[in-house]
Symmetry: C3
Amino acid sequence: MSCRITRFLVLTFLVALIVPATDSFAEAAAPLSEATEECLSCHSLFSPGVTLDWRRSRHASNTVETALKRKDKERRVSLTSVDEVGGIAGYVAVGCAECHTANPDSHEDTFLHNGYRVHVVVTPADCAQCHPVEAKQYKAQNKMAHAHGNLRKNPFYHSLAETVVGRREIVGGTLKRSPSTLATQMDTCYGCHGTQVKMVGLKEIETEMDVMKVPVLEGWPNVGVGRVNPDGSLGSCSACHPRHAFSIKVARQPYVCSRCHLQPDVPAWNVYKESKHGNLFNTMKEYWDFDAVPWRLGRDFHAPTCATCHASLIVDPEGALIAERTHGYGERLWTRIFGLIYSHPQPIDPDTSKIRNKDGQPLPTAFDGEPAKRFLINKAVQRERKKAMQEVCHGCHSTMWVEKHFEKMDGTLADVDKQVRAATQLMGQAWRKGLASRKNLFDEPIEIVWTEQWLFFANSIRYASAMAGAPDYASFHNGWWQMQKAIQELRKAVHMKNAAQ
Amino acid sequence: MSCRITRFLVLTFLVALIVPATDSFAEAAAPLSEATEECLSCHSLFSPGVTLDWRRSRHASNTVETALKRKDKERRVSLTSVDEVGGIAGYVAVGCAECHTANPDSHEDTFLHNGYRVHVVVTPADCAQCHPVEAKQYKAQNKMAHAHGNLRKNPFYHSLAETVVGRREIVGGTLKRSPSTLATQMDTCYGCHGTQVKMVGLKEIETEMDVMKVPVLEGWPNVGVGRVNPDGSLGSCSACHPRHAFSIKVARQPYVCSRCHLQPDVPAWNVYKESKHGNLFNTMKEYWDFDAVPWRLGRDFHAPTCATCHASLIVDPEGALIAERTHGYGERLWTRIFGLIYSHPQPIDPDTSKIRNKDGQPLPTAFDGEPAKRFLINKAVQRERKKAMQEVCHGCHSTMWVEKHFEKMDGTLADVDKQVRAATQLMGQAWRKGLASRKNLFDEPIEIVWTEQWLFFANSIRYASAMAGAPDYASFHNGWWQMQKAIQELRKAVHMKNAAQ
Amino acid sequence: MSCRITRFLVLTFLVALIVPATDSFAEAAAPLSEATEECLSCHSLFSPGVTLDWRRSRHASNTVETALKRKDKERRVSLTSVDEVGGIAGYVAVGCAECHTANPDSHEDTFLHNGYRVHVVVTPADCAQCHPVEAKQYKAQNKMAHAHGNLRKNPFYHSLAETVVGRREIVGGTLKRSPSTLATQMDTCYGCHGTQVKMVGLKEIETEMDVMKVPVLEGWPNVGVGRVNPDGSLGSCSACHPRHAFSIKVARQPYVCSRCHLQPDVPAWNVYKESKHGNLFNTMKEYWDFDAVPWRLGRDFHAPTCATCHASLIVDPEGALIAERTHGYGERLWTRIFGLIYSHPQPIDPDTSKIRNKDGQPLPTAFDGEPAKRFLINKAVQRERKKAMQEVCHGCHSTMWVEKHFEKMDGTLADVDKQVRAATQLMGQAWRKGLASRKNLFDEPIEIVWTEQWLFFANSIRYASAMAGAPDYASFHNGWWQMQKAIQELRKAVHMKNAAQ
C-alpha cells in the first residue's frame, strides 16, 4: 500500500476538522450528507484544490434551510421552501454529492462511481435546485445561454468562423480549406460560446486508489456560457461563478468577464479597466465589499463593475431598491452595441438564429442598415430598459449628467454606423467589380478589411462610448484611427476618389 | 407621497450619524456648514454613491483650520491662513456647498437650486480656494491644462484629428468627409484633452422630489485634463483625483493615469505596468502607504508609480527632501519623448499652439529634425530638470546606474529619431512623386503608414526606454518590429532599393 | 558640512533601531556583519529605497544558521551546512556585504570602496553561496540562462534581430541598415535575453559624501535572464526575485514574468491573466499565501500562477509532494510551444545555439516541419515531463479532465503547425519567384508577413490552448484571424488560387 494511500486512510477522519480551523475566512461548517462525506474521504486527498476551495465556500457553510432564513433581499437562494429540494437534502451543506448526483436520469454522462450515480458536468439544471429563478432567467432571456446555437445555426456567422479557424493547406497548387477541428473550435469560438458536450462512452483509467471506469466526454473540458450539456440544458454557471467556491465575489469583480469580453471584437473589459469606473475599482476595491447581498451602492462600493450595471441586485444605503437582480442580462440593455453589422435594438428572443433581415440574411440589420424590426424590441421596451440602467447611474450621477452621457452615446452610434455604411458600400462595389467573390464573404484580403471595420473597430468605439471608457479605444487603439485606415484601403481598392477638403 | 420620499424625511436626520460608524476607514467627521447639510438632506438619498464616497474622504473629516495645523511637508493645503477662505468656511468640512457654490459669479453655469446659487462643474479655480499653489502650477506650467487649445488651435494636429474622426460617407461617387460631431469629439480626442463646456440654458426636469430647472451644458460630462470650464478656467482636478473622495491614493496609483496615457500613442501605462517598477507595484502595493504626506521613499513605498517621478513630494525615510511636489509636471522632465514628429527639449510655454518651426509649421521640430529652439528649454534648464528626476532615481539606484540608464535612453532617442527621419524622407519622396497629396498630410494609406511610424511606434520605443519598461514595447509590440515593417512599406511605395547586407 | 551629512552621522546609530519597529510586516532582525553595518551607515541615507526594502526581507531577518534549522521542504536554502559559507558568515544576516563582496577575485567589476573589495553586479554565482542547487539547475538546465548566447550565436535569430533593430537611414538613394546600437539592444532583445556586462574601467564621480572611483560597466543596467556577468556566470536572479527584498512572493505572482513573456511573440502573461486561473488569481489573491514554503495547493492557493506549474515546490494540504522545486524550468515541459518555426519537443541542451536541422540551419525544425531529433528530447522524456506537469493539474482536476485538455492542445498544435507549413510553402514560392530575396529572410514586406505568422500568431494560439486561456488570443487577438489574414496576403502575393468552398 503506497505511502499516499496510508495517509489517505488516516487523514480521512482528520481533514474536515483541521481545515476550517486554520482558515481565517471560513464560516462554521454545515453538516455534510453521508454521500458528500464519502466523496470527500477520497477527494480531499486526490483533488485537494477543489475540495478546500469548496470548504471555504458558502455552499459548505450553509444549508437550504439556513439560506432560507435570510429575509427578502438578503436571500441568496430563490427556491421558496426547504421542501422543494426534498428529504434531508435541505438540511445538509451543498456538497459534492448534492450537485454531482442531482438529476441522474437526465444526465447522459451519469456513471456508477463507488456505488453512486455521479455525473461530471454540473449544469444550470442542477443549480436550479436551489437557484430556480436564476436558471430560468438565464435560459429564457439570456443570449449567452444560446451562444452555441446562435453561432452554429447562423450560416452568416458560421461561415465567418469556419473561414477563420478552418485548417488550411496547399493541395495541388491551391490553398485549400478543410473544416475546423474540434480542438481548434474549443480553443476559439466555442471556448466562449460553449461546446456541445457529448457522452462518448466509458474508459478504464488507473488512479492511485483503484482502476475505475469514467466517462469520456467530447467537447469537454469547457466552461462556455452557451455550453450544450449532456442533460440538454444550456450554459455553465461556473463560467462566471468558477469552481469550487462559486463565489459571488468572483462574479462581481470584472476579471471573470474579461475572459471573453475582450478586444478586439468585444472590448468591454479593456474599456472598463481604463475608464474612470475601472480606475476607481482598481485603486479602491480593497475597501469594497463584494460579498454583500443586497449590494449597497455607496456603502459596499463606490463605482460599478460589470455586474453592477448588468446583473446585480443593487439597493441604496438604506436598502431601497435601485435595480433588480437579473440573470437575463437584457433587462438594462436596450441597444445592442455589438454591431451585426450595425448597432440595433436588442433582439426579442435570446435565440438569435431565428432572425432574418429584409434580404433574408440571418442578421439583425440589412447591409444598408435597416433593422430587422420584427425580431427586435420596440421603442417602448427600449425606453423601459434604458430607464432601468439609468437608475443605476443615478446612484452617483445627476439627471442631466446621465441624460447627456446617453445623448453622446446615441450620437456616436450614429457616427459609427454611418461609417460602417460607407465601408459596406465600398465593399459592395468591390463585389460588383469582381474584386472579390460573394461566394464566401470573408476570405479575400479586402473582405477581411471590411469585416474588421464592423467587427473590431466599430465595436471598440461603441463600447468606449457606452462605458465612458478610455478614449484611446475610440481613437487610436482599434478605434477611429483603424476605421479611417481601413476605409481608405477599401476606397483605394475600388479606385474611388477622396472628396477634396 | 412616495415611499422613497417618506424615507427621505426620516433619514435626513439619521444618515450623518450612521454612516461613519459603520466604516472602518473613516476619520471623525468635521462639522458641516448649514448649506452642505441642506445638500446632504436630499442627496444622501438621491445620490448616495457620491455622498457616501465623500463622507469617507478627508474633505469630510477636515476643515481648513485643522488642515492648516499640520506642519510643513505634512500639510495637504497650500493656502497659508484660515482667513483666506473667509468667514466660517474655514471651520467646516469641505462639503457639497463649499465647492459647488464657490465663486458663483464667475460660473456661467450657476443656477438657482433650492435657494442656493449652485454650479455643476467644479473647476480648478474652485479648488484653488484651499489649494492655490497646485492650481497655479497646473495653469502656468502644465501642458495638460492647455490640452484643449493645444489640439484645437494647432492646424497640424487639428487636421490630423479631423481626418481621423470626421464622419465619412459616400456622396456622388466620392468618399466625403464632414466635420466630426461633438459626440465623437467627446469620446475621442477631447475625452482626454478636455472639451469646451458651454452653458446652453436651463431645462425643466422631473425628479422624484420636485420639478426643477437645471443647466444644460454642451461638451459635458467630461473630465479631460484641459477642459475649458464655464468659469474660463482650464482643466479638471477630478481627472486625477476622481469624485467624490478626491483621494491622493487614487492619484498616486497609476490606474488613473492609464485612462489617457495608453498605447499606441502614449503607452506610458502599458510600459510601466510591465516594467520592474510596475511588477513590484502590482505585487507589493498592499504593503505600501499611498496616503502618507509627505511620501517617504523606502518607508511608504519601494518602487515608484507615475506620481512618484512626476508629481509627488518625496522625502527620504527621515524626512529630508528628495523631490518637491509639483502640479506643473515639467519640473522633472527635460526631453519630450512624445515625438512631434521627433523627440525634442520640453517646450517653454505650456501653451504649445504658439510654437512654430523654421518652416512655419506649428511643430516643435521641423520635418528634417531641427528643433524649434526658440520655443524649447535650453540645455541649462534641461540639465536642472534631469537632475531633479535623477534625485528620485538615486533613492534606490547608484550614481552610475542612473548615469548609464539615461545614457542608454539618449542613445535610443537618437536611433529612433534617425529612423523617423528616414521614414519622413521616404514620405517626402512620395509627396514629390505625387503618390499622395500634401493638401492633407494624413488621409492617404501611405500617409497613415508614415504617421504611425512617429505617432505610435517611435513613441512606444521611447517610453519603453525612458521607463526601463517591458522590452516588448520597444521590440515586437508597437516597437522596432512595426517601425521596420512600416519603413519597408514606405520604401516599396517609392520604389527605393534596400541596400545589400 | 551639509545638513544632509550631519543627519547621516546622527542617523547612523538610529536607523537600524527605528525601521523594523515601525513596520508591521518585519520579522526580528538578525545580527549584521561589521561590513554590512558599514555599508548601511552610508547607504541607509543615500540609497534608502533599497536598504529599507532589504530590511524587510528574509535576508535581513535570517542567517544561514537559522535558515538551516527549518526542516526538509520548509527550507529555503540549499546548502547543507553552515560551514559551507565559512567563518562567521553563516551567523549574520545576509546583508549588503555578504553579496556585494562575495567572490571578489572572480568579479571583473570588483573595485575598492571604502576599504572593501566590492562588486556592483551580484550574480548567480554569488547567490550560489546559500542557494547552490538553484544556481546549478538554472545554469545546467534552464534555456533562460543561455538566452544571450542562444540569440547572439544563432545566425538565424541574430539576422532576424538585426534586421528589426538595426539603424536605418537613406544613403545615396538606398535604404541602408547599420548594426544596431548597444542602447537599442539593451532596450529590445537583450532587455530580456540579457546583455554581456563588461568592465570598462573606473570613473571618478562626486557624491554627497565624497569623490570616489566607481566601475563603468558596459551593457548595464540590465536584469535579463541570460545576462553574461563580469564573473563569467550567466543570468540575473533579480530578474524574477527583484531587488532588494528578493521576495518569493514577487517571484510567485505572475507580474514579474510579464515583463518578458508578453504578446505578441510570447503572450503567456496575456493569456494567463484572461484565463480562468488568472481570473481567480486576480479576484482571490488577497486570501492566498504567496510566502509559504512549501506551497500547499488548496490551502495556500486555489489556482495556479506561472510559478506553480513551472517552478515551485508544491505539496498537498498534508505536505505530500506534488511537484519538486526547480530552477531548470524544463522539468514539467515536454513540447516547446514557442514555434521555431514549428512547435517541437524541448531541446536537450539549454544552449540551443548548437542545434542544426537536417538542412544545416540552426533551428529545431526544418522549413518543412521535420524536427531536428538529435537535439530534442525523446518520447520517453516527453512522457515523464508531461506526467510531472499533470500531477499539478490533478491537484484540482480529474484524470479525464486533464487527459482531454492535453488532447485538445495536441490537436491545436497540429492545426497550427499545418498552417505554418502552408505559409512557409507560399513563402518558398515567393522566394523561388524572386518576389523576395533569400539573402535576408526577414526584410521584405512579404517576409515580414510570413514571420508574423509563426512568430506572433501561431504562438498566441499555442499559448492560449496550452494554458486554457482567453479564447480571444486564439481567435481575434493575434490568433486565427490574423493567421488567416496573413495567409491570404501570402497567397495573393504569389497569385495562388483559393480552392472553391
